[in-house]
């Protein structure tokens, strides 16, 4: 187990390739998933420890989003196993994953435009009064507002309708919704896409904070600098499989891009890709 302090200087998880299995809060192996004739996952394996940030990297169509959707219960894999805290689990629905403490920020944000910020945050676990099925809107709005303010990404009033929010505010709400209920695993699919420079920094800071709380974080992003800033380890996806595992502090952008490109016999293209990526 790694203590949070060790992460402060940029990630220092020991580069063990085969740690003890019960170390993992989440362990998925050999996941396959096809959509019609398109094989999105061809035997992907992933393991995540509590209190680490795992960056999942890959080109478009490499299977990153499908992989995390199987972990959050949105998509049922055709084959493969998922262990949560050492126990075999089958997610029949997102509700099942959520009840175990696996929270996800989806790329498309997955908010209900017509509901208020507070109602979005509490959707599925509404606050009610006196145990009756009676919404406590005031308490939800107040609590949501305070929570968003504590997160400090962007200021958002709790009773505003999401339709009237800016892209950055929506992103903040989506992130808040995922971290609000003490997750054990937090999955972030492009959480910084709609944000400005300052807000991105706030989200990355938030990732460090939840990691310090012992949460296992999976981060998908196109921004290479985010990976180096917060990730302890990287999992590189290529054509539906996990092609490589890297420890962030021991790797280089060059090596990452090399694996994103498929990882073999592409010496010339490697040089070109690095130029365009950096």
């Amino acid at each position: 187990m790694v203590t949070p302090e060790e992460h402060e200087d940029g990630g220092s998880v020991p580069g063990l390739d085969t740690p003890e299995p019960d170390d993992f809060v989440l362990q998925a192996s050999d996941l396959t998933k096809s959509f019609g004739s398109v094989a999105a996952l061809r035997g992907a394996t992933l393991e995540l420890r509590a209190g680490e940030v795992l960056g999942v990297v890959g080109d478009n169509g490499a299977g990153k989003s499908t992989l995390i959707k199987t972990l959050s219960g949105v998509v049922a894999p055709d084959r493969g196993t998922i262990f949560f805290a050492g126990e075999l689990v089958h997610f029949s629905s997102p509700r099942a994953a959520r009840s175990l403490g696996i929270e996800t920020v989806y790329q498309d944000l997955a908010l209900c435009e017509h509901l208020t910020v507070a109602r979005n945050l509490y959707l599925g676990r509404e606050l009610t009064r006196h145990g009756l099925p009676w919404l406590d809107d005031r308490r939800m709005a107040r609590s949501a507002e305070q929570f968003l303010e504590r997160l400090g990404i962007v200021a958002v009033p709790g009773d505003a309708v999401v339709r009237n929010l800016s892209g950055g505010q929506r992103q903040a709400v989506a992130v808040a919704k995922a971290v609000a209920f003490s997750p054990r695993v937090l999955i972030l699919d492009e959480p910084t896409a709609a944000l400005g420079v300052r807000e991105v920094e706030q989200v990355l800071d938030l990732v460090r904070r939840v990691r310090a709380d012992g949460v296992g974080v999976i981060l998908i992003t196109h921004r290479m600098q985010d990976l180096f800033e917060v990730c302890d380890r990287l999992l590189i996806m290529y054509e539906g499989t996990d092609i490589a595992r890297l420890t962030t502090k021991n790797t280089t952008l060059e090596e990452i891009v090399y694996y994103i490109d498929g990882g073999s016999g592409r010496e010339h293209q490697r040089a070109g890709s690095i130029t365009s990526a950096s």
Binding site: S72, V74, S93, P94, R95, R98, S99, T104, Y106, L109, A110, L111, C112, E113, H114, L115, R119, L121, Y122, L123, G124, R125, E126, L127, T128, P133, W134, L135, R142, S143, A144, E145, Q146, F147, L148, E149, R150, L151, A155, V156, P157, D159, A160, V161, R163, N164, L165, S166, Q169, K177, V179, A180, F181, S182
Partner: protein, 340 residues
């Protein structure tokens, strides 16, 4: 099961309120205000043109006549907010009324018949709901099938005749009064109030809006959306059964012609009220006012001795007039969004 947000505990941490105006009351309620405007304008016109229009008796008369539509407007608002529609409710009232009449003719007690009538509504609603929620068939198609089939069953049961229902206790539900207020009005009022509360103040109502707004996001939030949709069609079926009881009791007969076109009257009223056909936006108050407006126009025109054949034409004009208001608030909504 609900918990407080864990990271947002301390009460005094709120400093300045973040910007993004909560929408002002006027703007938020443009659809309903437009509707109230139409109600007032036409109400004033009818009051001036007819001596009898603006009396309590006439008001109760309008509500009594539109009670079945008001009851169905409650459930239709819920259905349409989830992006659905229920075209089968008109035919279902005929089927439920027919079954009730046949049962009572065959010597069943009033209460047993009423229970069976409600049960039929629930079963019919669950059939609709099953296909919509669990088979993913568009609600329009599913309930169009019910629209045809249910009236067919009503015809078979009644053989096309109007079957009399003479039991006084049953007839009271349609013709009686409680302290001078017609019973159908009381039933519609109770239905409306409960519907408003459920829609606006319960997790169920909130999830209806959520699923109409973004079904996939709602599912990912851990809501069992299929069960939610099933329930909303069951409510619709039950509301149709209640409407059927009111209609049959008012006519004192069960007829396969009951509720002809009722579903369209209800949908018109609900849309007039500001509920979106595309889901996510629903207003219980608007629906009830919309249905009331349509009934009021018919009533006023009849008092003015207009040829009844013209009444639907005028009602249609009102729908257009109300539609004319839609672009106005769309524009204002766009302006608001762009100002951020």
């Amino acid at each position: 099961m609900a918990r407080e947000l864990t990271h947002g505990a301390s009460a005094d941490s709120v400093g300045t309120r973040p910007r993004v105006a909560a929408q002002p009351f006027l703007r938020r309620n443009v659809p309903i205000l437009a509707l109230i405007g139409l109600l007032v304008v036409s109400g004033v016109y009818f009051s001036l043109a007819s001596d009898t229009f603006l009396t309590l008796g006439n008001f109760l008369n309008i509500v009594r006549q539109s009670a079945p539509a008001l009851i169905l407007a409650v459930s239709m608002t819920m259905v349409m907010t989830t992006r659905g529609i229920d075209l089968s409710v008109g035919s279902l009232t005929a089927m439920v009324g027919g079954v009730g009449a046949v049962l009572m003719r065959d010597g069943w007690s009033v209460w047993a018949a009423i229970v069976v009538m409600c049960a039929i509504g629930v079963v019919a609603g669950s059939v609709n709901g099953f296909f919509v929620a669990y088979q993913g068939i568009p609600a329009f198609i599913v309930t169009l099938a019910g629209f045809t089939a249910f009236r067919g069953i009503a015809l078979i049961l009644t053989e096309g005749f109007s079957i009399p229902m003479r039991d006084e206790r049953f007839v009271w539900l349609g013709q009686g009064t409680i302290r001078n207020v017609p019973v159908p009005v009381v039933i519609a009022l109770v239905f409306g109030i409960i519907g408003w509360l459920v829609f606006n103040k319960t997790p169920f109502g909130m999830r209806l809006v959520a699923v109409g707004s973004n079904p996939e996001a709602t599912r990912r939030s851990g809501v069992n959306t299929a069960a939610l949709l099933l329930r909303v069609y069951v409510i619709s079926g039950l509301a149709a059964a209640v409407a059927a009881i009111v209609i049959a009791a008012r006519l004192g007969a069960g007829s396969s012609n009951a509720g002809l076109g009722l579903e369209l009257e209800v949908i018109t009223g609900v849309v007039l009220g500001g509920t979106s056909l595309f889901g996510g936006i629903g207003t219980m108050t608007g629906s009830l006012l919309g249905v009331f407006l349509i009934a009021m126009i018919a009533n006023g025109l009849i008092l003015l001795r207009l040829d009844p054949f013209y009444v639907p034409v005028v009602q249609g004009r009102f729908s257009w007039a109300r539609c004319g208001c839609t672009p106005m608030w769309r524009v204002s909504a766009t302006l608001r969004r762009d100002s951020f």
